[in-house]
């Protein structure tokens, strides 16, 4: 019967009223992200404080929206930023162009760039949307030294570390 159907519909709506709201009160209470969530990029460091990024520009080449700009410079044992020959002297990501696909992460030979869990990216002008290396790089881990480091010669000649299969 039509009337019964209408009454059932009304009842469903009314019973929903007494359920607990599913809303997260966002700025005060943040919802935890999923394990493989792709948020803002982080540039990682080794345990001794050296940067993982070797300035190879493979991430920039893989980027489908051309959001990454990398400029590299030479490392020396006196002034060392990363293992191997070169490091990224400039590393910029335009967050207005980035589509958070994670291809840069796949392309990176040293696992330097990893998409993190920060999704609160908002800016007042376009200039602010360009994240520089200083903003992207993670802090020096405890026990490590800040870059540039002065290291003993011949110890950090290999730019790509021994890799393991990813765990998650």
């Amino acid at each position: 019967m039509f009337i019964v159907q209408l009454a059932r519909g009304l009842w469903v709506v009314l019973s929903n009223m007494f359920e607990k709201p599913v809303t997260y009160q966002y700025p005060e209470k943040k919802r935890p992200v999923r394990p493989r969530f792709k948020g803002r990029h982080n540039l990682h460091r080794y345990d001794n404080g050296l940067e993982k990024c070797i300035g190879c520009s493979l991430c920039a080449a893989a980027c489908p929206s051309d959001a990454i700009f990398v400029e590299s410079a030479e490392n020396t044992d006196e002034v060392r930023y990363s293992p191997g020959e070169r490091y990224a002297s400039t590393y910029e990501i335009n967050m207005l162009r980035c589509i958070f696909c994670g291809y840069c992460e796949d392309a990176c030979p040293t696992e330097a760039i990893v998409l993190g869990d920060n999704y609160e990216l908002s800016f007042y002008d376009r200039r602010q949307a360009i994240y520089t290396k200083e903003m992207l790089i993670v802090p020096v881990p405890p026990g490590g030294k800040p870059t540039p480091q002065k290291v003993e010669p011949g110890k950090f000649n290999r730019s790509i570390p021994v890799m393991e299969n990813p765990k998650d």
Binding site: L10, V12, V13, N16, E19, P21
Partner: protein, 340 residues
């Protein structure tokens, strides 16, 4: 007419206008909160404690919006249409009593603005004026969607005024009077039992009135004049700023007015326990009943999808109209049995 009476009427008129306007603001808040809870959300809670200042924020926003008039619009009618829509909504509750006579500083004040002997006719007439505002808004905007919305509004009104009028007729038959003050008095004449008999004799009338009132106020599921899927925003497509707010205001004030009328005609108006001892309880009872009826409006909106246009017309003419006649028959039989 003495000076005291003029002052009394002035105070009452200002009170009605103020209550309706403030009520409009808080009905939007009430609606958003209830809708949110029905969709297991929280609703506005940022502006002030529990979002209580949200209507103020909305109002300020609308005041600062750009007032846009389309180039080929009929300027005079374009400005006039929102006013024509909102004024009947504001004055319609003038005949609704909100309480019995009370004693204010030794002066007997009846708690209603006007005791008109054709109050029901007045309701029907004034309620239909606002459709002119909608049609004119649609026509003067010089926009095809607005025009369609206006035309739909007219057709809808013709179908639903009949059902509304028939539900009025049965109440008039039962009460033997067209004055809302008398109708409430008749409901309370035999105490609680009389009130109960009145309400139980008119469930069909109440449903008919509610359906017609939903259509009258252009609310879902009868919001065809502003069907946003087909007509962008219907008759108010070209309106912005305070002119748009006026249409919004008209819709919500009409909801309050229709809820007050429904409470008065079918739920005993200001009547309630201890009303004879404490006459000031009248407005409180009417307020509670109005809030409950407004809840039904919101509940229906949260539940039902919009009618298709042809379904709406056949529903109005093939279902509501015969039911209205049936309800009139019931009311007539009851009146004869009571020896009226």
């Amino acid at each position: 007419m003495s000076v005291e009476q003029i002052v009394e009427y002035l105070i009452k008129s200002v009170l009605i206008l103020a209550v309706m306007t403030a009520g409009f603001a808080y009905v939007t808040y009430y609606e958003r909160k209830v809708l949110a809870r029905m969709q297991t959300r929280i609703g506005p809670n940022r502006a002030g404690p529990w979002g209580i200042l949200q209507p103020v924020a909305d109002g300020v926003k609308l005041i600062f919006k750009e007032e846009f008039t389309p180039k080929n619009a009929d300027k005079v009618l374009f400005v006039l249409a929102p006013i024509i829509t909102v004024l009947p909504a504001l004055i319609i509750t003038a005949v609704v009593p909100w309480g019995p006579t009370v004693n204010v500083f030794g002066y007997q004040v009846p708690l209603y603005l006007a005791n008109v002997n054709i109050a029901i006719l007045y309701l029907g007439a004034v309620a239909s004026i606002s459709v002119y505002g909608i049609v004119l808004a649609g026509w003067s905007s010089n926009n095809k969607y607005a025009m369609m919305g206006g035309i739909r509004s007219t057709a809808q009104m013709i179908s639903y005024e009949l059902a509304l009028g028939l539900s009025f007729v049965s109440v008039t038959l039962l009460a033997g009077s067209m004055s809302l003050v008398d109708i409430v008095k008749v409901q309370g004449a035999d105490g609680f039992v009389g009130w109960l008999i009145w309400n139980l004799s008119q469930p069909l009338g109440f449903i008919l009135f509610m359906v017609a009132a939903l259509a009258e106020t252009n609310r879902a599921p009868f919001d065809l004049p502003e069907a946003e899927h087909e007509l962008t925003a219907g008759y108010h497509t070209e309106y912005s700023g305070m002119k748009f707010a006026m249409f919004y205001m008209a819709e919500y004030i009409k909801i309050i007015a229709m809820s007050m009328i429904a409470s008065t005609l079918f739920l005993g108006g200001y009547l309630g326990p201890f009303i004879n001892q404490v006459p000031w309880l009248g407005p409180i009872y009417l307020f509670i009943k109005t809030v409950i009826v407004i809840f039904i409006f919101i509940w229906v909106r949260a539940t039902f999808p919009r009618f298709r246009y042809d379904q709406l017309m056949s529903f109005g003419w093939k279902i509501l109209l015969p039911l209205g006649f049936l309800n009139m028959l019931i009311a007539g039989v009851i009146t004869v049995l009571r020896g009226g």
